[in-house]
Symmetry: C2
Subunit: 379 residues, 2 copies
DNA sequence: ATGAAAGCGCTAACAA
DNA sequence: TTGTTAGCGCTTTCAT
């Protein structure tokens, strides 16, 4: 057809002036149409759209960004691991960002990079993002507030980390304290005298928070606080911890900071002749896809990654687009304790019911496929 | 210090002219320094860098992209699932892309979107990427070659998919055929008369290819080809399949298209009274982190996601930067069969050694933590 | 409701 | 080895 419409000098792709010419309007009007600006008559809009379609026009984002100073993109800093939790969070972020119409740029901090997130953040800033998401930051061991050191001039959303003090920065995520307390108190309610904790690497804020929640649950209930065992999230480290714990007859309940470690732990306990849950109860964390199918099916804590991501992104975009307005309030996403078969009363004394709301279902999650009794967390 | 150096009109950020002024050179020289172009004296370079540092200058990528027509960024289309395989591949891609100095933009195809990857690819094109990675595409059921329909004008790398015919498009990944044959023939070598297959959803090319490899291994060895059972990658679907298979006494060996399904399958078999591996052998796929710690530890196929990603990206970047040159050759990444305890000879007849190179180690992977005997695939 | 002109900050030729 | 001059394709003002 009218394809020949004088394509620009070099690159050959049609530009908005080309569309304008075909549609018989000014270039600015084309711009208006593509930005959904007001004051464009229906007729003109239609003609512009037709012309654009005919030419195969697509807006040049580099030019748009240069002229407007905004990129309509959000950068996310990840850890670059395929661990279920972080990976799920990232997937949630992708989806949420897409829904907002922003583009997503991703960088990962080199694993174990002593420099921490700073270089990653700066590389995003160089790319010109309108906002930044930091997913599951780990402590880089430096002094001073992370935010302060970063010196960012765009809003920042931190997922799964402790408060972060900067104007225009947000934190989203489920309160780790609540989750860890839910797990710990559930075990206490089953009658266990105390609960051991197999923690994640303490450089991770998420791991630290879970340990803290466990600790305060014990303290709050007047129980002894056993020493924390630190793993590295891997099943192998859970296995190693299990070998150590197996020899301690005082261990009847373990709250584990993720499911992979719980599975390794259970294997070690089982091999050592300590049955789960008859001798030792184990609560995991994450509810990984296979958790219901391992032996025994794993009682675990599940957090709604998608909700967390979606809510966080919504608040971030709100700040980006309404810098002056008050930030949107954060909601408290639901936490689920998924009851399955890796937990039960302690071997010696019978469970004493302290009248709490989470009942143990001895047969829960046994064989049936999704078998997931759900108890909402107390908030 | 000299901070006051007249910041540009509106946005406040220093521009290259500001740096030029402070350094006492022309703006173009600043550009040269930041692009590592030749013909800049060491002294000038130093002065420019100092000035830039002093002003806190950072190159504006939108302007650069607009002027150069290149964005130095690569877009990746993902499935948006946290499945271990796809997630691992993405992490590998992130790392590989970072190493090349390119930025990464991510979009995911809406899960189960009938429109397939096309809209995702176009959204990347709109953002102006220099190359595209499509990770684990699934068949959208349309006629014609995917690449042809997409009508892309940048190089495309497809990870884990079938050949793809477009000039400037590449495929990377381990030959699924080799992997599936390795698993299947290993089971035949143990003495099993035939091998059943629990496949992934057949819309996925990866699932299809694995099924095909299994099939041709059976045919090539003159064995009966049992009907394929199709799962959806989930442990739940593996469990469902296991219930069906358990009642069939002819089933002594199952090759499963991923570990999650294998774990579900094993649970169902065990519950039905069929022991693994004594009655039924199971080989998984992926070697997920907990595979060595479930009961029994899972014999499985592992592919080197990081190598695949790295190699693919290297080839993609090569095409981007040397459009005329011949594409880099693809190498064949190593495939490992990880021998653990979910496989053994069939219950009735003794294993007959057909003189192949993979020996069964009855005690492999039992208790010890990483216990992973590795047998390289035949290539 | 529409248009004209003026940049956004950089790279790309081409000089010098 | 360095500088000059034009744009890249869009969004902004400000007119109309």
């Amino acid at each position: 057809m009218t394809r020949g419409a004088r394509r620009g000098g070099s690159s050959g792709a049609p530009r908005s002036v080309d569309v304008a010419r075909v549609a018989g309007v000014s270039q600015k009007t084309v711009s208006r149409v593509f930005n959904d600006e007001p004051y464009v008559s229906a007729d003109v809009r239609r003609r512009v759209l037709e012309a654009a379609d005919e030419l195969g026009y697509r807006l040049n984002n580099a030019a748009r960004a240069l002229a407007s100073g905004r990129t309509r993109s959000i950068g996310v800093v990840t850890l670059g691991t395929a661990l279920y939790g972080p990976a799920s969070l990232i997937m949630g972020v992708e989806r949420a960002v897409r829904d907002t119409g922003y583009a997503l740029r991703v960088v990962n901090t080199m694993e174990g990079d002593p420099a921490g997130v700073a270089p990653a953040v700066h590389s995003l800033l160089d790319q010109g993002v309108d906002g930044i998401v930091i997913s599951e930051p780990i402590d880089d061991g430096r002094d001073g507030d992370l935010a302060a050191r970063l010196d960012v001039d765009v809003p920042v959303l931190v997922l799964g980390a402790p408060p972060f003090s900067t104007p225009r920065s947000l934190v989203a995520g489920v309160d780790a304290d609540v989750m860890a307390r839910t797990a710990t108190e559930y075990l206490l309610d089953l009658g266990h005298v105390t609960v051991h904790h197999l923690a994640g690497p303490q450089r991770w804020f998420a791991a630290r928070d879970r340990a803290q929640g466990w600790r305060s649950a014990l303290v709050g209930n007047g129980r002894a606080v056993p020493p924390v065992i630190e793993g590295d999230w891997s099943a192998a480290s859970g296995y190693a911890a299990g070998r150590r714990l197996a020899s301690d007859a005082g261990v009847t309940a373990v709250f584990t900071a993720n499911d992979d470690m719980a599975i390794g732990l259970i294997r070690a306990l089982t091999e050592a002749g300590r049955r789960v849950p008859e001798d030792v109860s184990v609560v995991g964390f994450d509810d990984i896809p296979v958790a219901a199918y391992v032996t025994p099916p794993l009682t675990t804590i599940r957090q709604p990654f998608d909700v967390v991501a979606q809510e966080g992104i919504k608040r971030l975009v709100h700040i980006i687009e309404n810098p002056q307005a008050d930030p949107l309030p954060a909601s408290e996403p639901p936490v689920d304790l998924i009851l399955r078969a890796s937990t039960g009363p302690p071997p010696t004394r019978p469970p004493r019911d302290r009248g709490r709301r989470i009942a143990h279902r001895p047969d829960a999650g046994g064989p049936a496929p999704p078998a997931q009794a759900t108890a909402p967390a107390q908030n």
